[in-house]
Symmetry: none
Subunit: 146 residues, 2 copies
Amino acid sequence: MRPFIGTYENKVDQKGRVSVPAKFRAVLQAEGYASIVVRPDPERGCIEGYGMDRLERLSDMTPDIVNLGDPNAAPAYQILAESEELTFDPNGRVLIPAWMLEAAGISDSAVFVGLGRVFQIWNPAAHATFRATQLRPAAQARGTGA
Amino acid sequence: MRPFIGTYENKVDQKGRVSVPAKFRAVLQAEGYASIVVRPDPERGCIEGYGMDRLERLSDMTPDIVNLGDPNAAPAYQILAESEELTFDPNGRVLIPAWMLEAAGISDSAVFVGLGRVFQIWNPAAHATFRATQLRPAAQARGTGA
DNA sequence: CGCTTTCCCATGAGATACCATGCCTCGTCC
DNA sequence: GGACGAGGCATGGTATCTCATGGGAAAGCG
């Protein structure tokens, strides 16, 4: 599978519609999917996106009889319960649910960040902060400025 | 098989009718079924739902004459015995038996939770409690606040 | 004959598809 | 090398359709 790469900032209109970057769409359509799957990422405060194949794999790994007493089952439960499949409209846009936009603090603009097998959707300001606090120190430790 | 994903809250009217989320119906109809199969889940206090294909798989695995002494047969026996098939009305609703609603504490509203191959139907308040007590601690253990 | 259950219709809200516009990028021609 | 032109992509608005939900009528059962 081709990786998701690059960073793009697109507008979010009042209905919650966003254009998925064409490069990302190309990756998914090469796999035969006309949708993205998204879920909130509470650890980082953004939205995580990927293809349906990733979710189907997770579903297949989860036993028929969900044993929620198993602590290992809780993360899978949460991912499946909180994921939503968003299909592209004819122009390549998706409608992100309002509650998910709120969870990520996204209002009128969103940043798509390719991370290989998955990608993220950020509030632009939050993403800038994340880069400054989480990524730049690591880069500086390696001796690179930015 | 496409997985059941996402969380939806729908109204239960005075007759016990509930709209099955359209996304869930689409999964079942892709399999050729116009119904859901439900059974009470006494361990968690909710209703468990799935497609008839799952029951057929269980039935195939179960011997003609159920040997109740076999501990492996007991879960399949119980699931088969307690399951009810609920067919969609023309609008995509099902009529949940009153006793099952009572067992799950559901009165005027129900939460559908997709879990891949199966889904759950909860009393909204009970589901909120379940998420707070069973899922959030797991997330906090990983270092996340919410 | 009354009651319960099932089917059908109507309505409003929300989501989806469609159409149109402008910008930016890339390719081509002069 | 610069200007022009074409195509793709992002974006905004509008129309259509699906879905969820409530009520009512008809049929089956006790």
